[in-house]
Point group: C2
Chain length 204, copies 2
């Protein structure tokens, strides 16, 4: 693409460096921002700068936070004896959006992945283990991705928790609500038969 | 969506204000930027600030420019006697990408559109007319959108040029290269028959 201005080209290329933003989309966004009078550019510039400079990671659960300890860890309404172990901050947000969980979280920052050179020492696993041994934790819910790496990580954590008196669970796996059986993949469907649960009329 | 940090929420909402960037995409972009160590945030912040503060509009053709007069208008290699009239800066870029045009441009900034309250006085039409009367312009190419508003604008400009000794042309309309006839719409196909051109073996 030929740009009539190097300033325009710079702005397009800087947005083009983002995932899923191609050059044409970047150009469209930049031209939109140039037309805009409502301060969108200033908002983006200020909020990205603030974010990069001031965003903290909760020293307890490793969730993103404005302060040293995040709002979830500080909240008096949360059940402090349950920890849900997740890979990333996005998973915390996804579970929070369900309104079905009232315990605490622990963000690992990924899963053990020998192929990608990620061992347990790069993740927040040691911090999780010491949290469980120090705080009064009754239950650890392993909510990692249903992949080989996720399963490996779940296994590693559960092995390390064996000696401690703590209940370990994983989130339920099975066919999606609203999904049709014929479209479920074989492994999911097979496992959901093996892991069948007692039928209850009050299930919601 | 529930955000664990107001800084994170601010950044997501500022990107969410862009066209075609939903909240989930905005969150993905922000999390990508947080992980990034290669200075993408600084690039975006700097380039958008620079763009908003320093981008100029060429005082001759109204294309975006780093200087008072744009590179195309200044270039000694361009044919100064031909002006291609387009709606927007994107059209200039699209035509430049074809490498088939070596004249100058004139960006109108839109088309006459009574329904949207856009009259000729909001566009750079008067500047075009004075440019044509002052400079030695032989040909004006009208390259506006093939819409009712685009045709109205082309008509308005051509009417105003009647008195001047200047050739007026429009870009060719017809079926696309590589397109199949059966998929061309009726109006395009009908007009391309009416506007048939002499067959030439050397056509490229």
């Amino acid at each position: 693409m030929k740009y009539s201005s190097s300033l325009l080209e710079d702005a397009v290329l800087s947005l083009n460096a983002l995932p899923s933003i191609g050059k044409k989309t970047a150009l469209r966004l930049v031209l939109h921002l140039l037309k805009d009078d409502s301060g969108k550019v200033e908002d983006i510039v200020r909020s990205l700068k603030d974010l990069k400079q001031n965003l903290k990671t909760c020293s307890s659960c490793f969730n993103f936070s404005d302060n040293v300890i995040c709002d979830i860890c500080l909240s008096p309404e949360r059940v402090k004896s349950t920890i849900c172990v997740v890979e990333s901050v996005r998973d915390v947000m996804a579970i929070e959006d369900t309104d079905q969980y009232s315990g605490l979280y622990h963000v690992l920052g990924g899963v053990i992945s020998p192929l990608n050179g990620i061992g347990q020492e790069q993740l927040n696993i040691q911090a999780l283990l010491s949290r469980i041994s120090i705080d009064q934790i009754d239950e650890v819910i392993l909510a990692l991705s249903p992949t080989v790496d996720g399963d490996t990580t779940s296994y590693y954590i559960s092995k390390n928790l064996e000696a401690m008196n703590v209940k370990i669970s994983t989130i339920a796996r099975g066919v999606s609500f609203g999904g049709e059986l014929e479209y479920a993949d074989e492994i999911t469907l097979g496992r959901s038969i093996l892991a069948r649960t007692p039928y209850s009329i009050n299930v919601d």
